[in-house]
């Protein structure tokens, strides 16, 4: 299946942002890379948070997400009519649970989902399409519930949120990516952030629903650009190194046939097609938050990082 013909189907809101706007062809010797579906769509970090909060950086992309899910729903139905399967993954950090909650120190998935009809509709729509959910470091608690996994293998495609190579600057440490002390500090910083945001509202310095989260872009302005390789290697080179080595070791030791690794977590879309001398492909899916609206499409013939325009 071809991405432009069979996935985009003339939808002007969908643009390929990787590889100069062209889908990357999957080497013939690897095909088929998918085993139980014909097309894979992977939606990265969304970080949905309580809608009216100053800290929510998803709300500006919510309407685009509903439209995108509608596109997927129609496509899935049409593919089913000809006995083809579209499989959808949410790559983790669906919810932002490391920010203050309404009834406790941190927000819960239900508080977030029920904070706005659009948010509830997004989750309902994903469930109706039988979306596969992974958990990330910001919604790690979801690992307790059925339907949420750490990673998935779809044929020769390995999918994981991507927090395992975390370093000190991500409130973790290299040997404990979800370090309790770091997570506690992060939550405390956000509580202080929330306190000052409310204070500024009371003093009429900012509006009630104005965005005020430290260090996170609000998402009000859309971001469609594909960042440079240099930037990715500078900030997230450790992720690429970690997964490149893992793919190499897997193929040597376990006779593992994984060819493509897809992660999220960094909010920075990136594809490297010649990992380990062209034996593997590494994809960072980007994010659907803070103005970004990225996702990954993989068929047996092609792959691409796309974005959905507002």
């Amino acid at each position: 299946m071809k991405i432009k013909k069979d996935f985009i189907k003339g939808n002007k809101k969908i643009k390929i942002i990787s590889n100069g706007g062209k889908p990357f062809p999957i080497p013939d010797s690897w095909q088929p890379v998918l085993s139980k579906c014909d097309m894979l769509v992977i939606i990265p970090d969304m970080h949905m948070y309580i809608y009216n909060s100053h800290l929510d950086n998803f709300k500006y992309g919510a309407d685009a997400m509903l439209k995108f899910l509608n596109h997927l729903s129609t496509l899935k139905e049409e593919m089913e009519l000809v006995d083809q399967t579209l499989r959808i993954y949410q790559l983790g950090d669906l919810y932002e649970q490391r920010f203050p909650g309404l009834h406790g120190p941190n927000a819960t998935a239900i508080e977030i989902r029920m904070s706005h009809p659009d948010y509830d509709q997004i989750i309902n729509s994903m469930n109706l399409m039988r979306t596969h959910f992974l958990y990330g470091n910001h919604d790690f608690e979801l690992r307790h519930f059925p339907g949420f996994r750490f990673a998935a293998l779809e044929g020769k495609v390995y999918i994981e949120h991507g927090f395992t190579p975390d370093s000190w600057q991500d409130f973790s440490n290299p040997i404990a990516s979800l370090w309790e002390v770091g997570q506690f500090m992060f939550l405390t910083i956000r509580e202080i952030n929330d306190f000052f945001a409310n204070l500024l509202v009371a003093a009429d310095v900012i509006q009630k629903d104005e965005f005020y989260s430290w260090g996170v872009p609000s998402g009000k302005d859309p971001v469609y650009k594909y960042p440079s390789e240099k930037d990715y290697l500078k900030d997230y080179g450790h992720c690429l190194k970690y997964y490149s080595e893992r793919m190499k070791k897997n193929s040597e030791l376990k006779n593992n046939d994984t060819k493509i690794t897809v992660i999220g977590h960094t909010h920075h879309p990136y594809i490297k097609t010649n990992v380990n001398n062209g034996k593997h492909i590494f994809i960072d899916a980007g994010a659907w938050t803070s103005g970004r609206s990225d996702f990954v499409v993989i068929t047996n013939e092609e792959l691409a990082i796309c974005c959905y325009k507002r």
Binding site: L69, N70, S73, Y95, Q97, G101, H103, G104, P105, N106, T108, A109, I110, E111, R113, M114, P117, D118, D120, Q121, I123, N124, S125, L128, E141, L142, H144, F145, P146, G147, F148, E180, Q183, F184, L187
Partner: protein
């Protein structure tokens, strides 16, 4: 000494009494009848709304509109609970006091303080399994002044069902209001569906992508008694 002690006891008591006596309950707002009539086609539910009665089966947005003037201190909304009738908020904890709730929970409770007592409202995300729909129940779809009814042949899955007759008159990709009339159910007679769509085979229906505004009210309790309807105008008149 004894006198001082009495003052200590009396003073907080008077304060509480004053607080109770002065509690000012906001007026319950009239729901938007136009919006209601665009969503709900049932004459029984429309009559209930006109008579000032919040009734089981109505969509949740009616509750939101009724209590629009309430402050957060007088109500608690969207409490996740395990089942209809349960009043216990679901919440678990791990690590350093991190809270979490099962994201798959679909039953919610609202709690309101009114001048005549406490009102509890339960509502849930509907699907054909949770609302006990089965073979031989009747699906009635409302479209352009006509009601199209047919017996349900089978349930395909929790959100899809197939009827016996072919309803070619109904357009695809359109949201309909529908009712399911139960054939043999211990307590349900009708369930109300606010977004149902027909597929191209003219026999299969699927649930639309709904949100909590259209979740049907399933159960109500007023002053610790289960009630089939809540008369908000009577509560307003008491104030």
């Amino acid at each position: 000494m004894k006198k001082t002690k009495h003052i200590f006891i009396l003073f907080p008591f008077l304060l509480i009494l004053l607080q109770v006596g002065c509690t000012n309950y906001p007026v319950l707002q009239e729901p938007d009848a136009q919006e209601f009539n665009q969503t709900v086609y049932s004459s029984a539910l429309r009559d209930s709304l006109q008579e000032g009665k919040l009734t089981a089966g109505m969509p949740y947005f009616v509750v939101t509109q009724l209590f629009a003037d309430y402050s957060t201190s007088m109500m608690e909304t969207k409490i996740p609970v395990a089942t209809l009738g349960s009043k216990q908020r679901l919440q678990e904890e791990e690590g350093w006091n991190r809270k979490y709730v099962d994201p798959n929970i679909n039953v919610f409770l609202d709690e309101y303080e009114t001048s005549k007592g406490k009102l509890y409202v339960w509502y849930q995300r509907p699907n054909f399994y949770t609302l006990d729909v089965s073979q031989r129940d009747t699906l009635c779809v409302f479209y352009e002044d006509t009601i199209y009814c047919s017996v349900i042949n089978y349930l395909n899955k929790s959100s899809v069902l197939t009827i016996r007759d072919s309803l070619q008159q109904l357009p695809t990709q359109t949201s309909f209001y529908a009712e399911i009339h139960y054939n043999d159910h211990p307590w349900r007679e009708i369930s109300y569906w606010y977004d149902i769509q027909i597929l191209s085979n003219a026999k299969t229906f699927k649930l639309g992508d709904t949100n909590y505004e259209l979740y049907p009210i399933e159960l109500m309790e007023f002053n610790n008694e289960p009630v089939s309807s809540f008369k908000w105008r009577e509560v307003n008149n008491e104030d």
